[in-house]
Assembly symmetry: C2
Homo-oligomer: 335 residues x 2
């Protein structure tokens, strides 16, 4: 489908679900961006879920978002159960503003929801020449080290830094693979890789449905479990949002709003060494790219480069949409 047509259709669907024109546009752009970077698990496959949660009054289509100024560096946002895209969009905008003013920004968002990829927000800060951390929590998917039941989300660690050209953006879940990929595999009847998830009896499984009922494995055992716990504290406990396994699964828990929390930290990289920052950063990338390559590698990519290549490749192409999702879109548009 042509991107412009797809965009209009998504906007129309969100407007039918009572989102303002402005918010509908923001959400459409983030969903399309996920498709362009081929993170399909965070794209159109979630449109039906967002709309269902609006219909069930678990996402507030007309949120009254309050931004509380704590200092010129620190802000606290009550997202009033808005769709995650909108609150995170406002959150990162504020975090950028704070760091531009003072060199350092910290923004907490509470009462939010799933916001797509963390890298969407990191990228905005990096394009304004800032270093950035984005943290968000997610529904239970990972067992803490020593437990046999899921509690942490796949809790990504997202970090961005300006490089002078393609942003350096690391966006890594603390699980072996992200949950969206398992959901996507489940939706389309595909297998998942070996060694990334256990079934509910604690056995390794490659069946996506069984994995969703079981638990995902963290990276590096105790280390990955600890990193997921860190993200739970930063985005859940600190922001006054859900934590400790209480974040609701947006796909199958309709007992209340998700109450996801986000935390953004922004740093002006020029505060310590001025313009030398960008020179040193370029040198850093150059030194690493020049290393002798491992077998099977023709180049060394920094985090963010691969997604950027996909984005550029897909930017002027039509977006191919599976029949199942086209059908969902027709149904959502018909209400």
């Amino acid at each position: 489908m042509k991107k412009s047509i797809l965009r209009s259709r998504i906007i129309q669907i969100f407007e039918k679900h009572k989102l303002s024109k402005k918010h509908s546009k923001v959400c459409a752009d983030y969903l399309i961006k996920a498709e362009l970077v081929e993170a399909r698990s965070h794209g159109l496959t979630r449109l039906k879920m967002y709309c269902e949660r609006i219909q069930k009054k678990l996402i507030n289509p007309k949120p009254k978002i309050k931004i509380k100024r704590i200092s010129s560096s620190i802000s606290y946002i009550d997202a009033d159960n808005s769709i995650g895209f909108i609150s995170a969009d406002i959150g990162i905008y504020q975090a950028i503003k704070n760091a531009k003013n003072t060199g350092l920004g910290l923004v907490a968002v509470k009462k939010s929801g799933h916001f797509g990829l963390s890298s969407f927000y990191a990228e905005q800060a990096v394009k304004k020449n800032l270093i950035v951390f984005c943290f968000t929590n997610a529904p239970p998917a990972l067992a803490p080290y020593g437990a046999r039941k899921s509690l942490f989300g796949t809790n990504p660690i997202c970090f961005g830094a300006p490089v002078g050209k393609v942003p350096f953006i690391l966006d890594t879940s603390t699980s072996m693979i992200n949950r969206g990929k398992i959901r996507h595999a489940n939706k389309f009847g595909k297998k998942i890789p070996y060694g990334v998830a256990l079934n509910k009896f604690g056995k390794i499984t490659t069946n996506a449905k069984e994995a969703l009922k079981g638990t995902q494995l963290p990276i590096a055992g105790f280390k990955g479990s600890g990193l997921a716990w860190m993200v739970d504290i930063l985005s859940g406990v600190l922001t006054g949002s859900s934590h400790g396994g209480k974040t609701k699964d947006p796909f199958d828990d309709f007992s209340g709003p998700q109450n996801v929390g986000h935390l953004f930290i922004t740093i002006d990289p020029k505060i310590f060494i001025g313009k030398r920052y960008i020179q040193e950063m370029k040198k850093n990338i150059r030194l690493i790219k020049r290393l002798p390559k491992a077998k099977g590698f023709s180049s060394i990519l920094y985090p963010g480069e691969r997604k950027n290549k996909l984005y550029k490749k897909n930017l002027n192409r039509d977006i191919s949409i599976p029949k199942k999702i086209l059908q969902e879109m027709d149904e959502l548009n018909a209400i």
Copy 2:
């Protein structure tokens, strides 16, 4: 050896190496602390190395440390090639002060050296009721994903949060195991675990000497490599310190000072939800500890608990010191 006697002897050794009494005490306490938490690879085994670098004028025993105030939240410290313990000690003190004043602190340290365990500094901030990140870089040990040569250090990610009792402190290298453990195995002729390092031909090795000449493996491939890169940017590039594989190995590179960088971020967790923070944090820990246990586990520990137990266990015991190190201490004391 009795702890008080050991302490006096270390202080004496550092004073003979021209450190001030005050600095000698600080360094002795950090070295003993490493022994107490059984992180032997960061304890007395390094004493000789520190002294050698002082003798070779690569560590400055009488540093003129400058603290530049950038804002009430942000400070920049030039450590003048001091021993890492001293500059990091001053760095975390300043970061605590800044967060106590403004809710948020950011302190960069340049021209520093190896500072022991990151958790030593995180703990100080947590005991002052702050959330904290400590980042530091290290000499080449890990190959970036796609390369066959070491460049990143084992670059730990250290995060701390107040819990109301034993501090939550995650201190995790981005390598499968920390380099100090491999050095320790090498010093005492022990084997290292399978699958944590490659020899210089790119083959897995359990020989510590071969591993030191080869490269260590990051946790979770591209993810761990990206996290190590993040730490290199934060503690190296941003602070104006060495980066991109230029951090000198303290044990065998005497061509100049290490120029290690540290970055401390401190957050007052009460800024968003006030006293509720500590209640929610306790709830978080309680929820997780109550989960059904995996096979072989009788309890779920949060990061920091294990080290704290070791510390308490060893606090009133004598410290056992290998003959080899006793001999080194005698030699260092005889200069």
